[in-house]
Amino acid sequence: MPTINEIASYAQTAAQKLGIQKFDIYGSTVDETSVQVDQGEPQQMKASNRSGITVRVWNDAHTVGVTSTTDVDLIGLELALKTAHEASEFGVKDNVPDFSPEATAAIAHANAADRSPQAEVSQLLQTLVGAEKELLDAHPAIVGVPYNGLAQRDIDRFYLNSVGALRHEAHSYASLYLYTKTEEEGRKPRSAGAFRVSTGLAKLDINGCLKEAAEKTISHLNYEKVKTGKYRVVFSPEAFLSLLGAFSNLYNAQSILDNQSLSTPESLNTQIASPLLSVCDDALHPDNVGAETFDGEGTPTRRVPLITNGVLTSLLHSTGTAKRMKTEPTGNANMGAKVTVSPNFFHVFPGEAASEEYSLGTADNVILIDDLSALHAGVQALQGSFSLPFDGWLVKDGKRISIESATVAGDIREVLNSIIYVEKDLEFTGSGVAPRVWVNELSVTGE
């Protein structure tokens, strides 16, 4: 694979040859290895070494075209620039994207190479086989770990443009997931799992993942149907972050400008949630594994206060949306023919002090939702509604009883406004850090 500097050099050469004056490139290379096992034997092992770039080209009429390619040699780059130049003829005439004004700004927390050495595949296999065995031994009902995987990945990202911006950073990740399946005579199969991610295999919390997967699985063995009705609901950190992500159009400036949002420009600085809730997007949060310090336009990432004590205080921006809404980009852009905006890493925490605090240890007839599934199907992001299957427990007199099968339905705006308590203890998940969040009432369909 060519180096970042070689790609920059190829691009300059090809652009000169094609008479292209203005361009930029965002790209990445990935080197990854992963393993899966089945009953102590290797199931499938994968390795990949690949790269991909997106080039943007501005023509003489100042409209922009884009092309993505995996061919990052001189010939491939020349073809990509040429195709992007052709596409630029059909580029938007209004609100044309431009370079980020911050593409050359200093990055406060720049960390050009945050790399851990990759472990041998044999070590990955040995680790995963050991984890699988421990999980199978944790309870006689656990007959398999059908979904499992241990992966390690090195990623190099870069951004460069024709006026001299050149950013580059490298990260390593290791991740583990373990999802069990149980079988018991006369009982339905049950499943539960856990996930961990770290900067390398050596730092991966394998025991924590094992413990969580085993405890959750065992807690779901004795299950009951739940009666259909309205319940007070507690979202686990993971479940609440899933909802926040699914309805990210609420604070996405591009979605708002496209009329593809539940918010409008006038929603800014209005109350959209209970004063008990605060949410930031914080790519640079210390718990964010492999935090990215710049976005697809080269803009430095940062902490963005989205909801402060229930008030929508900021939006996520690209260079283009920031310009249109007369503010600054926030480092949330993804380069493309149409630049999109997305959150980096959520930080959810209590806002105003709650008048009453709640505890699962003393709760009664409360549903604790551990994990929401099928968000791609059950979320109507533009209508605000959701109807989602979940794994969880009915808490009766402080004791948890696994729920056999149920869905929870509601409207995200009502959920945000009917929060009655945001717990203080934060947990790290793959997409952010959050505490458990209590919601006064939601519809649950069981039996």
Binding site: M1, M45, T67, K93, N259, G336, K338, P389, S443
Partner: protein, 490 residues
């Protein structure tokens, strides 16, 4: 099919290969057969190379402007190495001989094997004469006959203009088109050597309407896998009419009351219920993971006696149609369920090796970065003997699911589907629109409750995400009646 040894390992660096850099043709036979021989000499039981070249473009019109034209060019290869029933998969962007050799070497090392020593003999793998579906079926000219960027923009803007005329309370209008041209070459150590070109196109609308706090969002898509002129013949006027009508009806719909109801599901995309609730559980991948309740049910009754279902790759221009799968096997027509009896599973090479079920030409993948897995193609419930009126007349109070959203099935067979457009049925008649419905159930239980199938089989284009990525599929069915299903709502 191994010939006497002809080549010594140390001679490899001196070999000069002249294969076509921009086309997968017969010139690739020599380097690929040598690489396959290298892998066999190293001790692998089976090796497969999958080469891919993609020329993709998408175009989007928002309201009255083209806001995105996005081409993507991609080349890459994957090598799969089997040792016994275990396998590994290595992918790379580098299609040079040394790049492919490096990928092979990586795969071998993962399997505990190593390239042969310098003086080792390399067995030559005799590949079949190139089985070239692209040339045989005239596909080489497809890409050049597709719509230009300008034509894409013109059609989508006209289509979006039509939607503006037809729909009320419009908050946003989108018309989206993509063209995915893919050239693939498969060579494996059993002698397989096959090439194909696929041309997948899709176009459709996404309409968001709002009136005060009432909102409705309706999408509609159609697809093609063999017609370069597909976009030119898109009947966007009819689709605009259809989408506008649905959005208007759903704008003021009440939320469905949760409970258990008899349900009539419309044809075409209604077939997503069978795809999710049963089709996935008939993939050998699920048998391998022990996540299907049907693993040992072949020859047994798993569904209502009125239900017969197929999975095939041969229906002309359907969205899941393929001339060969991604392991070089010609597509087949596979009878899954006949009158409620489980007849066959959907199997790829690895699934066949690990479960014993025969391959069905169903080894599919999103791209070179994925190993092939057993995946569906065009999957549908066969038409039955009832009329639609028969189905409605059998329902006193129930739900008509006219447009389904997406769905999924969990590791224990639980499934769920979103319903984008639903209506209340009272005494056999549709009475009012409903929104917010989700269908929930267990695969093993629902299949026995599909009691009536009408005679109006229809197919619809869909996208399916699973272990080998996102692929193009068809779902389909006639109108069907499910005697009872849990409906999640408010």
């Amino acid at each position: 099919m191994q010939a006497p040894t002809l080549l010594i390992s140390k001679e490899l660096p001196s070999l000069k290969y002249t294969y076509a850099p921009d086309r997968f043709d017969e010139t690739w036979e020599a380097p690929l057969s040598i690489l396959l021989g290298l892998g066999r000499a190293a001790g692998a039981d089976f090796i497969e190379f999958f080469l891919e070249r993609v020329n993709y473009i998408s175009c989007m019109a928002e309201d009255d402007a083209i806001t995105s034209i996005s081409p993507r060019l991609s080349t890459g290869a994957g090598v799969r190495v089997f040792r016994g029933k275990a396998d590994c998969y290595v992918s790379t962007n580098d299609l040079s001989f040394n790049g492919l050799k490096a990928a092979l070497e990586k795969g071998l090392s993962i399997m505990g094997l190593h390239l042969p020593l310098p003086n080792a003999f390399i067995p030559e793998i005799h590949l079949e004469l190139l089985r070239d579906y692209a040339t045989k079926k005239g596909k080489d000219a497809w890409l050049g006959n597709c719509s230009s960027m300008r034509e894409m923009g013109d059609v989508l803007l006209s289509a979006n203009g039509e939607l503006a005329q037809k729909a009320d309370h419009v908050q946003s209008r989108r018309a989206v088109y993509f063209r995915d041209w893919q050239e693939v070459l498969v060579a494996s150590s059993d002698g397989t050597f096959a090439r194909d070109i696929r041309l997948t196109q899709s176009v459709g609308y996404s309409l968001l309407c709002a009136d005060g706090t009432n909102r409705s969002s309706i999408s509609k898509r159609s697809g093609s896998t063999s017609d370069p002129g597909f976009l030119r013949t898109w009947d966007y006027k009819a689709d605009a009419e259809d989408v506008s009508e649905s959005a208007a009806k759903m704008l003021y719909a009440d939320y469905v009351e949760s409970g258990s109801y008899p349900v009539i599901m419309a044809n075409q995309f209604g077939g997503v219920i069978f795809h999710e609730a049963c089709g996935h559980l008939l993939e050998t991948t699920q048998i391998e993971r022990k996540t299907t309740p049907f693993a040992d049910k072949k020859g047994q009754k798993i569904a209502h006696e009125n239900l017969t279902a197929w999975d095939e790759g041969i229906t002309s221009d359907a969205f899941g149609t393929i001339d060969m799968d991604d392991e070089g096997m010609p597509a087949q027509r596979t009878l899954l369920i006949e009158n409620g009896i489980l007849k066959n599973f959907i199997s790829d090479r690895a699934g066949s090796a690990r479960t014993g079920h025969p391959r069905t030409g169903s080894g599919r993948r999103q791209s070179f970065t994925f190993a092939a897995a057993s995946r569906m193609r065009n999957t549908y419930i066969a038409p039955g003997e009832y009329s639609i009126e028969d189905l409605f007349n059998s329902v006193e109070k129930g739900i008509y699911c006219k447009k389904m959203g997406g769905g999924s099935v969990g590791p224990t067979g639980q499934f769920n589907f979103a319903v984008d457009e639903a209506y209340l049925i009272e005494n056999g008649k549709i009475t009012k629109p409903l929104k917010g419905a989700t269908l929930i159930g267990e695969a093993t239980e629902i299949m026995d409750k599909i009691s009536m199938c009408s005679n109006d089989l229809g197919l619809a284009a869909g996208f399916c995400g699973s272990v080998s990525g996102s692929i193009y599929v068809t779902v389909g069915q006639p109108h069907i009646k499910v005697d009872s299903i849990t409906v999640g709502g408010r």
